[in-house]
């Protein structure tokens, strides 16, 4: 099947996961145990089953997989609506981040049916039955669906994501750009830092301690591509490393999963090309 845009859900449902043992590379504290079943309220006509990852740091127990039956007639159309319905009507301890409910803030990024996406922009009808809801893949879990993004954000601050100009701004107006120069930032400045791409990147799974990951590298390119920035050499020097940049093997799961339809894979290729061009 040909995927045209990242919001397309694959109709290929045969292989839900790679044929590997469940415990493959999983540390003891991360093993997922069976959880409890929460039936639909009496009188519910149209229901859908949601399998949701739960972890309570205060229980001292392992993560578990709870099953909720959601009354579709009582909740909104999006996966986030289903989560809010569960929190309001079934289990108020279900914990998740959400804010804008329209794909702008990136708070509700999670692994839905084995693919990273924002819960607020994924229709419940697009989910399999049972639907699976996990926190962002490969992140430490604070509670339930809330991942700890400290490391990813530290990597973001490493690329120094601000304008570095060698001259002070003009007195009369802001720093100007030509239309063509401004266009070079399209597809990169829109990133909302939801970390769907970084969380879905196998290179970041295995080498996340040193590899910066697609979200951060896309941001790095956003500053390298900016005509007003004067620190290109310095920025490239910081990235020229076998791990920070070159651990990207163009797997391109980042581009497939970006909820904003951006192209981190292309941004990284642009950095590699710029790196090569400066040696010519």
């Amino acid at each position: 099947m040909i995927i045209h845009s990242s919001n397309q859900v694959s109709r290929f449902r045969l292989l839900r996961r790679f044929p590997l043992p469940r415990g493959f590379g999983v540390l003891r504290e991360s093993r997922i145990e069976p959880g409890r079943h929460w039936p639909a309220p009496a009188g519910a006509k149209r229901t859908k089953t949601f399998q949701i990852y739960r972890y309570d740091p205060e229980s001292g127990r392992n993560p578990r997989l709870d099953t909720f039956e959601v009354d579709l007639d009582e909740c909104g159309p999006m996966v986030l609506d289903a989560l809010i319905w569960i929190k309001s009507n079934v289990d108020s301890s279900l914990t998740f981040r959400r804010s804008c409910r329209e794909g702008v803030c990136g708070s509700c990024a999670m692994t839905l049916d084995g693919t990273n996406w924002l819960a607020c922009t994924r229709f419940i009808t697009e989910m399999t039955d049972p639907a699976s809801v996990y926190p962002l893949a490969n992140f430490p879990v604070i509670k339930d669906l809330v991942p700890d993004q400290t490391h990813a954000l530290a990597q973001y601050s490493m690329i120094e994501p601000w304008l570095k100009a060698s001259e002070p701004p003009p007195q009369q107006h802001e720093r100007l750009q030509s239309v063509a120069d401004r266009k070079r930032l399209d597809g990169y400045y829109e990133c909302i830092l939801c970390f769907c791409c970084t969380s879905g990147c196998p290179s970041h799974w295995w080498n996340g301690d040193r590899f910066l990951g697609p979200a951060v590298l896309l941001q790095a390119w956003r500053w390298l591509a900016d005509s007003r920035d004067d620190a290109k050499g310095e920025r490239l020097d910081a990235l020229e490393d076998p791990f920070r940049l070159y651990r990207c093997h163009t797997i391109l799961k980042c581009t497939r999963t970006c909820p904003k339809g951006l192209n981190p894979g292309k941004a990284i290729a642009e950095i590699k090309k710029m790196m090569l061009e400066r040696t010519l």
């Binding site: 040909i2 292989l15 590997l20 693919t115 893949a137 490969n138 879990v141 581009t255 192209n263």
Partner: protein, 125 residues
Amino acid sequence: MRPCSPNIQNYRPQLTSVLSIANRITALISTVALVAFVAWLVAAALGPVPYDALYALAASPIGRALLVIATFVFFLHLCGSIRHLFWDAVVGFELRSIYVSGWVAVAASIVLTAAAWLVGGFFKG
């Protein structure tokens, strides 16, 4: 210590990730197949008796099956690596291009494998 949310245990396979890992596995198998190719040359250099022995081994049903697999693996790696050459030049990064080139690589390796064996059979007479 905080648990880590599952990565490969939960993430759905997709064309991009499957072809990426396939490119690595085919590289590994092709390297092993290269040893078999060298063994064939060595046998030819040693004379007709070892060569005939190795030929009989390769012409057995299992030998033939392994050779067909090795040919397919070689072509899949070749086609997959050509995609990477384009990507290194920042060409073909639109999601549609990624999927089209991926399926083209799979189809082309099947066609090239069939073609290689048909042409090989033709020259054998």
